[in-house]
Structures are given as structure tokens and as C-alpha cells.
Symmetry: C2
Amino acid sequence: MRYSSILSKTSKTAPADEKTINARLLVQAGFVNKLMAGSYSYLPLGLRVLRKIENIIRQEMNNINGQEVLLPALHPSANWKKTGGWEDIDVLFKLKGRTGREYALGQSHEEVITPLVKEYMNSYKDLPVFVYQIQNKYRDELRAKSGILRGREFGMKDMYSFHIDQDDFDKFYEIAKEAYFNIFSQCGLDAKATEASGGSFSKKVSYEFMVLTNAGEDDIFYCNKCEYCINSEIAKIKQQSQCPKCEKGRLLKARASEVGNVFDLGQKYTKDFNLYVLDADHNKVYPIMGCYGIGTTRLMGVIAEKHFDDKGLVWPKSVAPFMFHIVSINPENKMVKYKAENLYKQLKKQGKEVLYDDRNESAGKKLADADLIGIPYRIIISPETIRKEKIEVKERSKVKPRLIDEKRVFDLN
Amino acid sequence: MRYSSILSKTSKTAPADEKTINARLLVQAGFVNKLMAGSYSYLPLGLRVLRKIENIIRQEMNNINGQEVLLPALHPSANWKKTGGWEDIDVLFKLKGRTGREYALGQSHEEVITPLVKEYMNSYKDLPVFVYQIQNKYRDELRAKSGILRGREFGMKDMYSFHIDQDDFDKFYEIAKEAYFNIFSQCGLDAKATEASGGSFSKKVSYEFMVLTNAGEDDIFYCNKCEYCINSEIAKIKQQSQCPKCEKGRLLKARASEVGNVFDLGQKYTKDFNLYVLDADHNKVYPIMGCYGIGTTRLMGVIAEKHFDDKGLVWPKSVAPFMFHIVSINPENKMVKYKAENLYKQLKKQGKEVLYDDRNESAGKKLADADLIGIPYRIIISPETIRKEKIEVKERSKVKPRLIDEKRVFDLN
């Protein structure tokens, strides 16, 4: 893509009204644009990152037999009244149409998926069922001030599972946990599975996947020797106390941001919607239900919070908007222009993802923009590289550039 | 994909509360599920069709230099008050959050894209600009009874263009028209570009792309000799009158469904949001704006309305959920099962899209389901085909099956 053709350019300064690193960098670099507090537009560069994150998640959900669906965001109030959410969930957006019908905007989709699954489930042999979607959620947050970490409208992958018994859910939780760790590590994040409260409808423990960052809204205790981790909200322990799991390590306290969660919903929703199956002995069984969330836009925000330096974003290759960023220095020089155009076309022909800064801007401006945008490989073509019959390649995450033969660029990945 | 693993199976009968062909077939065949009037969930088969339609549109929009973005659906009321839409647009859903903030749900996105483009446009040299998104829209329809043709929540591709003058818009309209015809013909639809009213904010003509179908909600007059076509709402002509364009043909009246539209928005929104550029002579110019819509879910509905027979859906290959539908007859026969499993794996290995009906159901049930679902190539593996050392292939759109060597199936496309 030619940078000159992209609507959303970088800004000279970070927006004054944004406090978090993710919003400051993503807005300044032209990835997102704020419509209002808690609501952002995804611009060409930002949408490319979001789609890559979604595809990493989609692949892992498919691998554990998830079936992708797409549910409406506008829900009939009746479904929410049936579960008590209409009255009890304070972030639920409610509205009334001109026909007098009342609706809720989905803040989660148990109220839609449960009656839907009920229509197609005939026998215990249909269990287990794993259904997911990647779709926008709406939450009437009192404060939305963490950039794309906490929005009134945000992207989410939500999977729902239905099991014949608790044991089957427990086994699947381990499988889902593995998939979640795969997702986060592909996104360049080191997440901890953390015990937490089960929310308003459950006394059970839930599992949150937390990434250590000062931009987070939770405090966690984690063991310095094993994977034990617990949200401070439910922890009855102190900093530096002995780990209750390995009994060797010490618990350390840290600020963290939630990037995913798993709720054991028990039979709450299957009973509310009278979704049951007959087991092999013809007994009525209300399936155990699990819910597995990952905020896709939040995940993008957390990646930004963890992958940046004083010059800008430093995207992991897996989610970078492009792999290569060609910068032509002195593009009015015919040879520079010819070489840059040619390399752009050659790389594209090989299926590589390339951003090509073809603008007539100063070298300083173009290099600063490349650092701010944070694409993994910056390639410079200048009168000097042409004289040396090389091109200059610099990895965004490294300090030093190197001169290489042009043909060697095709081996970079 | 194994049909046994898909949640949403076919139903024996079409839903009693659905009157239109698209809803009756798509619900019965397990492509969509009705949540409430005007709101449908997209199930695994339906979502695959929708994604293919979206990708056809995306490719054509990229080809005409469209930049893909993703805008919020939840809008601040201030933007709609600025344009008059808050009071004047009766399908606008409005809501109030617990903080007292008022919001609208996007029924179109001029109110968001115009101020966004304003932030990045510095000079007349930045024009023209083409931005599009594929995203859900919300409209408070009084009646929503045409299945997925008219929803309270529906998928839409909406592109917005900004031009230095009317001439530039007019030229781009011809380019966009060509892209639209490419999209519709790839979707198996013969659309007519139709003159229509410009809507509530414009006295200009708009262009609707119409497909002849009794499920439509408009009447059009079209010439039997040339491409002239006009919506009956603005036509001052009669059935059988002479075509005003070619002056040779006769105008015929027909029922039609809109699959796309183009609005010449003039300077309405650029003036409302004070989006202007300075031209080469330093004069203030408010760009001319165009809006180009295609309802993605509606398009899926219209395809269903045009591609079916008395046994079910007959998907065009370009948008079919899968290309091959393997049906094993008597799967308890070990050889049948072995052959079917093997062919399924071989086709998948070659990157083919395959639905594999591996259920222990009767031949009659499985064949009826295959007809209802409407995948282009049905492949039967049965004791009989094994005895003949062949497989049976039938195109959904043709009458007769044929026996072919198994290896020849890899050449079908």
C-alpha cells in the first residue's frame, strides 16, 4: 500500500486528551481515531492489525472444534428479562423503538446463544457443543478512559460451550486454556491464567488471563516459581507470602490487564431457557455451560502497551499491519524513485505485505513516521544505498541497520 | 467440515412465520436463525456465504482505491443533531446511557466519516478520497417481514467518496457503477442501474441497483432494448411507453429488490461539518460527497430469492458455503466409510472446500438435505458406486448425475 494514498497520516504530537500509551501511540500513528470516549474508528493500518489478531484467534478456536457464527447485537428485552440481566446488569444499554419494542445491546451473548442452541439440540449425543463469534459488544461504562482497553463499543471473541456434566467442562477448560496461551503467545504476550471471582451470577471461580502492565485495572498476586496466579479481589494472602500451590515460591503483586476470561456458568442459562437433553437413561439433564471471552480490540491495545519504545510502536511480526516499510529518501532522484517503485512491485508480486512511503517529505519526517508506525522491517532506498549497490534494512526492534544485497530482502521473514 | 459436527441442522419444514423464499429456505436449510423480526443469527453455513459475499465486495472496492476502515455503530447524538438526522430520520434508533449521554445507532455513517475525514484532510491535493467499511447497520423499521431482505440489524458495505467538484464525482460514479456490476454478476445476479429519488436530503437523482424479483419492495420501469431503468416513484411514464433514452424500446414494469445504491450527497455533509479544503487559488471549497451502499445480508437474501428450485437452494459457485458435498450412503458399510473419509481428506488436502455428510441417516434424508442446502457438486459414495469403481457426481443446477473416476473429481471447479 502506498502511504501517500492512505487517508490517516501520523500526527506530530500525541492527543492531549489521551492518557494511556495505547491510545496515545495508536492515535498519533494513525491506527485509530477517537469518535468519543470509549469508542474508536479503526483506520486502514489499525484494521489490518485487528484482522490479524482476529485470524489468530479464529484459527485457534477452529482447532478446538469451535463453530463460528455471527449473532445480532440488538436483542429483544424478553431474553434479558428471563435471566435477570435486564435489571441486574448495570452496563446493559437499553433502548425502545418507535413501535414500543424494547431492546438491549449485547454486552455478552448468553441470552442469544442459549435459546439458539436449544432449537438444534435434540439429544445428549449432540453434546458437547462449541460455538463462537467475533463481533462488537456494547457496555454502558461509567468511565471509559483507557483508550481501546475499555470501550463502550469494542470487538470481542466470545465462545460458549455446552457439556453433559462438570467433568466434561473441566476437561475442556484445559483444552481452551492451551488455545488461549497459544493465542496470547502468537500475539507477543506473556499471559497468566489467574483465579478470579465468577461474577454476579456465580459463586464459582472464573479464570482470567492477565498480562502485566501498568495500564491494567487489576492487581494480581503471582508466584515467582510456578504458574500460580490469583486476582487480588479474591486473594486472602499478602505480598511475599508462600505460594499455596508449589509451596516453594513467593507471591508477588503486580498491576495487570485482562486479555481473556473463562466463566463456568453452570446451569444458570440452560435452566433459564429450559435447554435440556435426555441422557442415555432418559433423565432430563441441563447442560453445564462455559463462556470464553477475548476482547479483540483490547488485545490490540495491550499489545501496543507491551511493544513500544520512545520512538513509537514496535509490532510483533504476527500482528504487524505490514511486514516491510519501504522508505525512499530523496524520491525526486529518478534512480531512487525507480528502485523504490521496482522493489515495492517485486515484493508485492511475491505476496509480501508492504507499506511504501512514496511521499515527497524530508528524510527526517519519513524515518520518524516509520519508527512511530512500527513495522518490523524498514527498508531504505537513498542515493547513498544506490551508490553502494545495496539497500538498507533495519529491524524495528533492533538498533543497527545493515546494508544488504537487494535480492536478499526476499528471504526476510 | 463434517456435517455431523455442525450445530445447525436442516428442519423438516420451512418456518410457519416466514413468508419470503429467502427466509423460508435459509432458515429451513440451517443457514440463519431468527432471533426476532428483522434480526437473524448467521449460522456456520450462512456465515460462510456472507463472508464470501463480503470478500467479493471488498476486492472490488479495493480495486477502485477504496480504503477499508471500521467505524463504531454507537454514535454521539451531537453528530446527528448537527445534520438534522436526529429529528428527521424516523428509522434512527436513539438511546440514553446511565451517564445521561445520548447516542444513536448508525443507520448510515455520513455523521461519523465526515468529521473523521476532516481531521486528516489538509489540502485539495488529498482529494479524491474513497473510504469504505463492512459493518452492521441499525434501522428502526416499522415492519420487518422480508426475511434478511429488510432487517432492523443488517450487514452493509458503505463507501464514501470526497471530490473537488461535481465533474470528478460524476466520473467516479461511472467507475463505481462498473465495480457494482462486477460485484452483482460475480454473485450470480443481473442488476439494473435505476434512476431514483435522492432521499430526504437531496433533490438530486440517486442510482439504485435493482434485481427483478417478486420479493422486492419497489416497482421499476425498464427498457426492453437498452439499459434504461427508472424507479416508478419518480417515473412520469406508463407501461409500454417509448424509452426516453434509446427511443426504440418499450418500457416494461416489474417488481424489483434493491441490492445497492449511490447517493450524490453534494455538499450537505461537508458543509454541516465544515469540512473544506483550499484549492490551488486558495479559495475555500467544500468537497462533493458520494455514498455507495450494498446491503451484504440483503444481497445474500436476494441471491437466495433468485437461485432456488422446488428442492431447495442452488448456490452460485462464487458464494456457495462449500464447493463439494460428499454424501456417504450406507456409511455402516466399511468400504463406503473408508472411501468417503479418504476422499474428504484428499479434497481438503488440496485446499477444496468440502462439506461431508458423515451421519448415520437414511439415503433419502441425506439426499434431500443436500438438495436443500444447495452446494454446487454433490458426490455420492455408496455400495453401488464402489462396485462400479466410480463415484457419482451431480451438479446441483443440473438434472442428471454422472459416474466418474474418483481422480477426476480433483479437476472439477
